[in-house]
Symmetry: D3
Subunit: 255 residues, 6 copies
């Protein structure tokens, strides 16, 4: 058993609270155990300069933590005057993942700004962010559908993310909390569609290495966890879940 | 009656949720109507360079809004690489206000970092921040008392803040929400102690001016509202409220 | 008597030298005792992006000190690569104050840039800046009138600013110099129109608090000092003073 | 056949020129086809603040491109005043990879600065950087060994990196050049040790997704390519290659 | 005759006002015609990190213009968040020039900060800055002599700077004003000692070139003008001028 | 004899390798002894905002060193977030020098970006940069001629740069290497045309001064060295050299 009594292949308790903040077009609070992230999706009626005139939209993400989301207080990135490498990696990952399940041609020249703000951190903030952001984006698109600004739900498939890792004793674990993550020999984040295809794999063993077999066992764990996350997303989205996939993803030219 | 059915001298519904985030020494969520601010107080065991060797502590505050706390999304200050003038004014005001009711000699060479993060904004974010931050700071000092790190509650008096203003028709209003604030001819923030003395008055009539009589009526409104806020703070703090004032404020040399 | 032989309600010697620098549309050197500030007003034939297309103008202010305006040399803000919170507060205050006595519609889509550069500091640099900037702005508008670029003097009333405070022994003082300011328990800046209405009040007692009665006595002191400053401004402006008020201030939409 | 006549599982021509720049402790020019990267390793006799007093060393990497390394000229990051997210991701990846095959305890409180500067880019700059940086680091450690500053070669295993991807027609390709990379549906970078264990996998399909089978085929391709790269490294290092692995990697506490 | 009735070899009217600002150890206002620069010299009792422990001092200079020193208002460098290339070149030139006539060993581990702030510009701001800064520095050292902090005047020789140039019609001109400078084909700044040796020559013909003969005629013009400037400096310094040269410059290791 | 066996009036071995990088319109590697600089010239089909609509072109230069081009590793300017004063001086000098031998009207509204990147430094990096950049720019213009985008070679004359200095024993030296440069009493950079006219002279004696006679001897040395550099440039350019001078430089309005 793990330090919090979970089985190796068990997710923490996951909660998604829709409409958490009143202003955004889509907003959720997502909790993976003690990790809590506000995911807000905002629609802007224009695209960044490099996308103009192509008749399609863009999705971009920003990620931040409150200074005291963590055990030790962190200096604000606004005070430092720059965004850290870790933050940039995470926000690029969130944006890339979301864009892979949205048909950008369907949304016209609009930008979806996704803000993931971690108010309490206990490991897995990037996977919670992606999983919650997906729901916020669907809620935002639903507003556009209600307003008849767009005609079809532009989301082509479900999307969720989870972490897996290898413990110091060599056990493969699903959904690591902060304590487990800081002790893990290997740490991997997996982003998948609802139909079980990979969108992104990022695995690293800074102080260790891992074998092909360990890789397979970690991917299996992730696969099962991600199906559970999809089920929770489906419940929260209710009727709106039914419209996911009504558009097929077409291959876009990358910007 | 006002647009939300309040009387001119009526506060919005005020809620303070203690222990909102688990890591900080003191944490509250404060709500003034639809304005919601997370106030976290963190204790650091050293003071900034300009305070070293004086045997006393320091309190400093930072303030930020989530990008979509407002009707329109704002660009993150970390992306802009600098903090706006408005943000700096507010964080300097919060810090100054808190320092005026804390005997910094009692806390030794420690810094209290107060983080006020607005997750939803509807006017009055700076007054809600001060009022909530006061509670978070008392909770944090209580932890130090429990751990016997300090001997006396270093807080010398209660502290709260409220806005008052003059409507376009010339009525004095208490606790303006965003709609009222954006229409107001005159806007004033008042910070007072529990014993009814002023800590800070900031009144401005950018497009208008105001008379001595209007000033008095606004200060009376504020005074009443602030007593109500003190009562709410007292309820939340329970027993800990009783220790406020056990230290008398001594005149400090400013740094 | 005060350390420099003044009565409690006495201004320092005030001098305003018009046309101090040759290039700006309006330029004065203002001296409050040993505090010396160059106030330059520049007219630019366009407004910032957020004001475009509204057919009215804008006034904005910048404030800086020479590094050795003070007893200790300060690091230049250009070397630090950012503007301090104190500087931002002061320049926002100067801009707001000036805008409250100018009918921005009268000046068309033009920006008035007001630069207040302190060449020697001895307390009261922000009040000297506002008082001098007012004269520089009137001189600049007079050039526009002479050139028939505008038809009426767009300044609706006189404007001046002064500091008041409470000494460690509890005496209310007018126009504090640096020594008095650094010892004062309470420090307040008051900005008023020529007709005696408030534009801005900013009072703070960082290490102390103040009562309603003390507030009244300080405001009375300020009121008298400000009338003297208006008289000095009138003398310097000569004929041009007569045109102030020929436009009535109309309520503007704030930007 | 591919557009440059390679087989799907064929590397581009790879050249490593040791001692390319005279000042650094270790220096190579590495070429993967038309991609050319200077990799310099510098030894500094201290560690960053967060590592001090632990008796072990640190390895950090920086990555940059000459403005005209690419078809279109890029603005210098020094002119922009900040480092892009892409650059940060790459330099973090290079540093992490190198640290995983070096026993930091063996090098004492020293920092190895690895600078990878791309002088000509044609796809695969990050994999060439890692592969070349490994050789530069071994050369630098060899200098420390010669000078008897350290006693054992602290490198525990070989290290190389290669890209694999899926072409628009669905073929798995090894070592993509720029043209192939910009058309690829899926792009993956694999970093492995000489003994065939994974150090890092980063696979992304921004506009596409990939299946478990495709993943396996890509990993097999990478595995073969990496063995070839190890062989080239071994030839260049000559005698020094023999000392790799004389230290066993011990599990470090991450910083 | 030139547009302002000067002969080709004639300086503008030059005025130096000592003790212009009260706080600095040395302060002058220098005027070259309509160019007005405040030069303040401040003594700090330590040297920058790269100079520590060498038992000698350092001199560094900063240069800035008020935004409206010029015909068109310039954006403040503090607002832009960085110092321009032109400003850096000028402040490096001023510092280098002053260091060449000061025996840094005589002043111990102290830094002289020289601030040249242009309040009105009409060409020649860098030469006026050097010429004025020299006087301010001597005044500051005189304070150290009076206080017996140092024993000998550490200044080894006089120092002044002047511009020369070639007009569009090919005439060599001394001390160009803004109008002449902006039309000139060639522009040269010459810094010399009181004994007629060169400290610095910077000549440029961006849109033109110049011959050896033209160079000689320009250097002769400069030489004469610089002797006049030395005479003015001598008059202002009075008795203190006599102590210049009591120390002989020794060759320093550059830092 | 000098420490590397050269005569006082002898250049180091100079090599110019054309077409060093494949993407730029013009590219060379230039070597002055152990100093190695990549000079790339890129053509952009527009000019900066301050030049638009004038029907002529612009040339601008950037200069940087790899962190380990020098004996001690330097921090990257992209990491520091700003460009140093030294770098700015050098890039302004390179740009100015090139513009003085190009008829900007002939190239239409295009910008030539010249990037000088030092990969190994041993003194004279700025003179090598100018000398190499000249060749890169001619190569780039030749591409425009081949493509018939422009009709005449817009380069009006040859251009090269060299350093001269005075050794501690008072000998005038040509083309100083790093060791000589760091010991020199006086350091001068001279930029001349192929017809022997000056474009730029920058001479400085930070810790020393120099006489008129020394100046003449240094300029003679430089003159001879520059003729040798022109000959090397001519050889590399081959046929293209013949077209230099087919346009006469016309006096431009400075931007």
């Amino acid at each position: 058993m793990r330090h919090d009594q979970r089985h190796d292949n068990e997710l923490r308790s996951v909660t998604i609270t829709p409409d958490f903040v009143k202003h955004p077009e889509g907003s959720v609070l997502i909790e993976f155990g003690d990790t809590k992230v506000i995911c807000n999706a905002s629609i802007e009626d224009r695209v960044p300069p490099f996308m103009r005139g192509q008749g399609k939209g863009w999705i971009t993400a920003e990620y931040a933590m409150l200074p005291r989301a963590t055990e030790q207080r962190n200096i604000r990135e606004s005070s430092k005057g720059k965004v850290s490498g870790r933050t940039m990696e995470i926000q690029r990952l969130i944006g890339r993942s979301l864009r892979s399940v949205v048909d950008l041609k369907q949304i016209g020249e609009r930008t979806v700004w996704v803000d993931c703000d971690v108010i309490q951190a206990d490991g897995g903030t990037r996977t919670a962010s992606i999983t919650g952001a997906f729901v916020a984006v669907v809620l935002a698109f639903n507003q556009l559908l209600q307003a008849k600004t767009i005609k079809k739900m532009p989301v082509t498939d479900f999307l969720a993310a989870i972490s897996v890792g290898i413990s110091p004793e060599g056990r493969e674990l699903l959904d690591l909390d902060y304590k487990e993550d800081s002790e893990a020999a290997v740490d991997m984040n997996v982003v998948m569609t609802g139909t079980g295809e990979f969108i992104e794999i990022q695995g690293t063993g800074e102080e260790a290495t891992f074998t092909q077999n360990q890789l397979h066992r970690m991917l299996d764990l992730a696969n099962n966890g991600l199906q559970d996350l999809n089920a929770i997303q489906k419940t929260i989205l209710g009727e709106q879940a039914g419209r996911i996939g009504e558009t097929n993803k077409t291959k876009e030219d990358s910007p």
